[in-house]
């Protein structure tokens, strides 16, 4: 019984990653400072850096489409400040 339950649990888990970055035209003070510092440290081929946030999200759901919908909702309702940020959802394993 216990084993079966565990199996089910595994089957029902879908994992996603969400990357949140500032929208293209929004000033990214943090990215700018990191970029300048790396350049002054001699990282010559560096072109540009944008700083963002990363979330790993597990959803108790076996329908991928539904799960993605849920993650999307989480993003728009909480994780992302849509006024200044963009996000990208990717499926992990």
């Amino acid at each position: 019984m216990a084993k079966l339950f565990q199996l089910n649990l595994k089957k029902n888990k879908l994992k996603f990653s969400v990357t949140v970055t500032l929208k293209k035209d929004v000033l990214d003070p943090q990215g700018k400072v990191v970029e300048n510092t790396l350049m002054s440290m001699g990282m010559v081929n560096l072109k540009s850096i944008r700083q963002g946030k990363f979330f790993e999200i597990e959803v108790d759901e076996n329908d991928q489409k539904k799960a993605e919908e849920k993650v999307k909702m989480m993003c728009e309702k909480l994780l992302v400040n849509l006024i200044i940020e963009d996000y990208k959802i990717s499926k992990l394993i």
Partner: protein
């Protein structure tokens, strides 16, 4: 006694610490972070503030600046180094002090007067205080929640390297008297040679009774000895 205050872009307690040092008769000079060498000095102070805006991690970018190599060199030769607030964060980023400062437990900036207790008064920074003396000192930070691994914590305890702990008026250290979630209520630590002190509270804000109190004075007068 000669002191040098390192100024980073975004340091903002540099003037305050300079005022305190001069009031306590240090011969002080301000050193811009782009310098590559330090003049002769007995004490180096890394002041509070938001060096590089606290971007990436507080203290991280300042930890990579030119002058820091020189500070590390002098530290190894036994020069006294005091890091306050952002200065403490920078010292942990450079590795001169172990551990790190995480975001405050309540995820908010905290500015208030808190009580701290002197745990070791047999150092060059604290000799004028009494053991277990309770001080009232101002804190002002976003990331003051000290954390380190259990091995280092043991070392801090065994070797008497904890300088100050947050406490209540009577000196009790407990959850209620811990403003930011710091491990073991730690407010300041020494390195193993006790020539480096990093602390979150601001002693330079406590040298004038009109403004606050003078609980910070003895830290500077200990150094003068």
């Amino acid at each position: 006694m000669r002191s040098s205050v390192i100024v980073f872009p975004g340091s903002n307690c540099d003037r305050d610490i300079a005022v305190a040092l001069e009031k306590m008769q240090f011969k002080n000079q301000m050193i811009w972070h782009k310098e590559t060498s330090l003049p002769k000095t007995d004490l180096i102070v890394i002041p509070g503030g938001f060096s590089y805006g606290d971007y990436l991690r507080s203290g991280a970018i300042a930890g990579k600046s030119l002058i820091i190599d020189e500070v590390i060199k002098l530290a190894k030769n036994g020069c006294l180094i005091l890091g306050i607030c952002n200065g403490f964060q920078i010292l942990t980023e450079t590795g001169l002090l172990k551990g790190t400062l995480l975001r405050n437990k309540n995820l908010k900036f905290i500015n208030k007067d808190v009580n701290i207790k002197v745990l070791n008064n047999k150092t060059q920074f604290t000799s004028k205080y009494k053991l277990n003396q309770v001080l009232k000192i101002n804190i002002a930070h976003n990331e003051g929640n000290y954390f380190t691994d259990s091995k280092h914590l043991q070392e801090l305890r065994n070797d008497n390297l904890i300088a100050f702990k947050y406490c209540d008026k009577k000196g009790n250290t407990n959850l209620d008297s811990n403003p930011n979630g710091a491990l073991d209520n730690i407010a300041g630590i020494f390195n193993s040679k006790k020539n480096i002190l990093g602390m979150m509270p601001h002693p330079e804000r406590m040298i004038d009774k009109l403004i606050s109190n003078d609980d910070g004075v003895n830290l500077f007068s200990s150094l003068l000895n």
